[in-house]
């Protein structure tokens, strides 16, 4: 078991490193002139500087080193928790992140809980209902859920619940009421995906022979659905959960912008507008780390839910 654990952790670290590297190359390699971007982010014009100043600036940003040296230097500092300085705000990036991360974590956390409850609940009910027209209608709901642009949904909710009914504030980062609308907005696309997958899962499970065995014991439909159906139908959700982390982070950027919350998401949006490269790199690295950690946990916990999966070394054909 330990060998497997080490292997998976190693793999996770490899993926994380790959993600960091790709982002680094996108940010530092793709643009025509990294220096002018960084200068304009700091509020300076490249043409206004003398060659001597340009050279000083290059050294300051660490752009005078060779490509790989620069990369190694940045990676080394990142591993020590130092993501450099924000170009536009002139503060250490780590400090900025530390300030804004709790907000985003609360938002993401509540959204995840809501989406699980909502998604699983909707799918469970859809499988429970026997009246065909109602079931078909409910089966279409998840599809609607991920057809809706998350930012538009936020605006709609603000219009109805904040401006129209006045139940919740439209913006702000303080207090529980300001969390409600953003969390619901962020939860809906994920909930739709969970509901869809679980619906399919139930459709599949209802046809399995062990369901007939359960009925033959004398169980009622509700009992069969709960005791034998749910666990087996919900297995794919565990893997999905890991993958949804990415979508939640992406959604957070949009939701925080709409509801004017002081989180990492809005920080990302501002950083891109100002082409603040170190901040963007740091935020992407942190998100990738979150994704990798969550998926690693899911992978390790999977056998608890599905006893058929063990952590014995698998044949090479299984990827």
């Amino acid at each position: 078991m330990n060998r497997y654990l080490l292997g998976r952790v190693g793999q996770a670290l490899l993926v994380l490193w790959g993600a960091y590297t790709i982002t680094y190359f996108i940010l530092y390699l793709l643009p025509g002139d990294t220096l002018s971007i960084m200068l304009s982010a700091s509020g300076l014009e490249v043409d206004a500087l003398s060659p001597a100043d340009l050279a000083k600036a290059r050294a300051y940003y660490g752009l005078d080193r060779g490509l790989f040296e620069q990369y190694g230097h940045l990676l080394w500092r990142a591993l020590h928790g130092d993501f450099g300085q924000s170009l536009s705000l002139n503060r250490p990036v780590t400090a900025l992140l530390a300030e804004r991360l709790p907000q985003t974590l609360t938002l993401a956390g509540s959204a995840i809980v809501l989406s699980l409850i909502g998604g699983i609940g909707l799918a469970y009910l859809t499988a429970y209902v026997r009246w065909q027209p109602l079931q078909s209608a409910m089966a279409r709901l998840p599809s609607l859920g991920f057809s809706v642009p998350v930012f538009w949904l936020g605006l709609l909710l603000i219009q109805v619940f904040a401006f129209g009914l006045g139940w919740f504030p439209a913006t702000g980062s303080q207090g529980l009421d300001s969390l409600v609308l953003p969390a619901i907005t962020l939860a809906i696309p994920s909930a739709a995906v969970y509901a869809q997958v679980l619906q399919r899962g139930f459709q599949h499970v209802w046809r399995e022979p062990y369901i007939t065995t359960a009925y033959a014991k004398g169980l009622s439909r509700a009992q069969v659905q709960y005791r034998h159906g749910l666990k087996n139908a919900a297995l794919p959700i565990l893997t999905l959960f890991g993958l949804q982390v990415g979508n939640t982070v992406s959604g957070a950027v949009l939701v925080e912008t709409i509801f004017s919350r002081n989180g990492v998401g809005r920080l990302a949006q501002e950083a891109v507008l100002r082409q603040d490269i170190p901040v963007v790199l740091a935020i992407v690295a942190i998100s990738a780390a979150a994704f990798v950690v969550v998926n690693l946990l899911v992978d390790l916990l999977y056998p608890m839910f599905d006893p058929r999966i063990t952590h014995a070394p698998r044949a090479p054909s299984a990827a």
Partner: protein
């Protein structure tokens, strides 16, 4: 008799075996070629047409198809659907509610909102098409290569896909846009790269599934090379779920490009990209909610119809 001639022709072509076969009794005289039971070779198109006829009777499907057709028309020939000029400002008529002349009302500069939405369709849909096209190209090739080759190649490609997956779609897009600048093209590229993992994985899963099916083995035993097998059997049977995913991702790409232009990274104003329309409308939410909400409703209608089409296709295939 013609039929047995065919048999003899084949026999002569590859010679007689060195082992003596037991004397074969010739079959009773077969019918002449102009047989009494003629059979028409129905080709694939007529089969497809007859399969799609029951679809015409489904109201939901037809409605969704109509909406998508409308959106495509708006993308290709916006002038057909609206007489107004999307950029013509009329400050006196600003922020009027939807009425008979202005179906969606007007925005803060007095421009007809409906027209702007129609013209925005071409930008957004082109961007989405580009994104899905890029993703299909990249994802399909990676998936087929990975599923077909197996072994080390497969493992390597899957690691790369894992890395791409670890980067959240929007953030990856943000990084790309930071690097190469704003505009419709960078947005489309960014969204496309984010969708590649999904295609690669689905294609790979399908290729792996079909590769081990008995009829593929039978084809190989019948003398087909791997390339022939890939072309004749594996690809045609693997493309089903990929087509469904492509339709679904087309909708997702529309949403993603709208999201990026909402955040301000799309084409510069006055380009009426859908996301930009919603972003500007945001400021007038209290006084003129239709400016932000109606374009969004249109987007929802288009994407939902696309999803419906995808689901119907999937159901039909089963």
């Amino acid at each position: 008799m013609p039929s047995s001639n065919a048999v003899h022709n084949l026999d002569r072509r590859f010679g007689s075996p060195s082992i003596q076969r037991l004397p074969a009794t010739t079959p009773s005289a077969p019918l002449p070629v102009e047989a009494t039971t003629p059979w028409r070779r129905r080709n694939r198109w007529s089969r497809l047409l007859s399969a799609s006829r029951p679809l015409l009777r489904r109201p939901g499907f037809m409605l969704a198809a109509l909406v998508v057709a409308f959106a495509l028309l708006a993308a290709l020939a916006p002038g057909v659907l609206s007489g107004f000029d999307p950029n013509a400002t009329a400050p006196l008529a600003k922020l009027t509610a939807p009425n008979a002349t202005h179906w969606f009302g007007t925005d803060e500069l007095g421009r007809d909102l409906y027209t702007r939405v129609i013209h925005g369709a071409s930008l957004s849909i082109q961007a989405a098409l580009l994104a899905v096209g890029l993703a299909l190209l990249g994802g399909l090739s990676l998936g087929v290569l990975s599923g077909f080759a197996g072994g080390r190649v497969d493992a390597l490609i899957m690691r790369v896909i894992d890395v791409l997956l670890a980067l959240p779609g929007l953030l990856l897009a943000l990084a790309i846009v930071t690097a190469i600048g704003f505009g419709t093209l960078p947005v489309a590229l960014a969204v496309g790269v984010g969708i590649i993992p999904g295609f690669a994985r689905t294609t790979r899963a399908e290729v792996l599934r079909v590769k081990t099916l008995p009829y593929v083995e039978a084809a190989r035993l019948g003398g087909a090379s791997w390339l022939q097998t890939l072309w004749r059997h594996i690809l045609p049977n693997a493309w089903g779920p990929v087509a469904v995913l492509a339709t679904l991702d087309f909708g997702a790409a529309i949403l993603a490009t709208a999201g990026l232009s909402f955040l301000g990274f799309g084409a510069a104003p006055p380009a009426p990209e859908w996301g930009t329309l919603i972003a500007t409308g945001r400021h007038f939410l209290i006084t003129a909610p239709w400016v932000a909400l109606l374009p969004g409703a249109f987007v929802v209608a288009v994407v939902f119809s696309l999803n419906h089409l995808a689901r119907t296709l999937e159901e039909i295939k089963r």
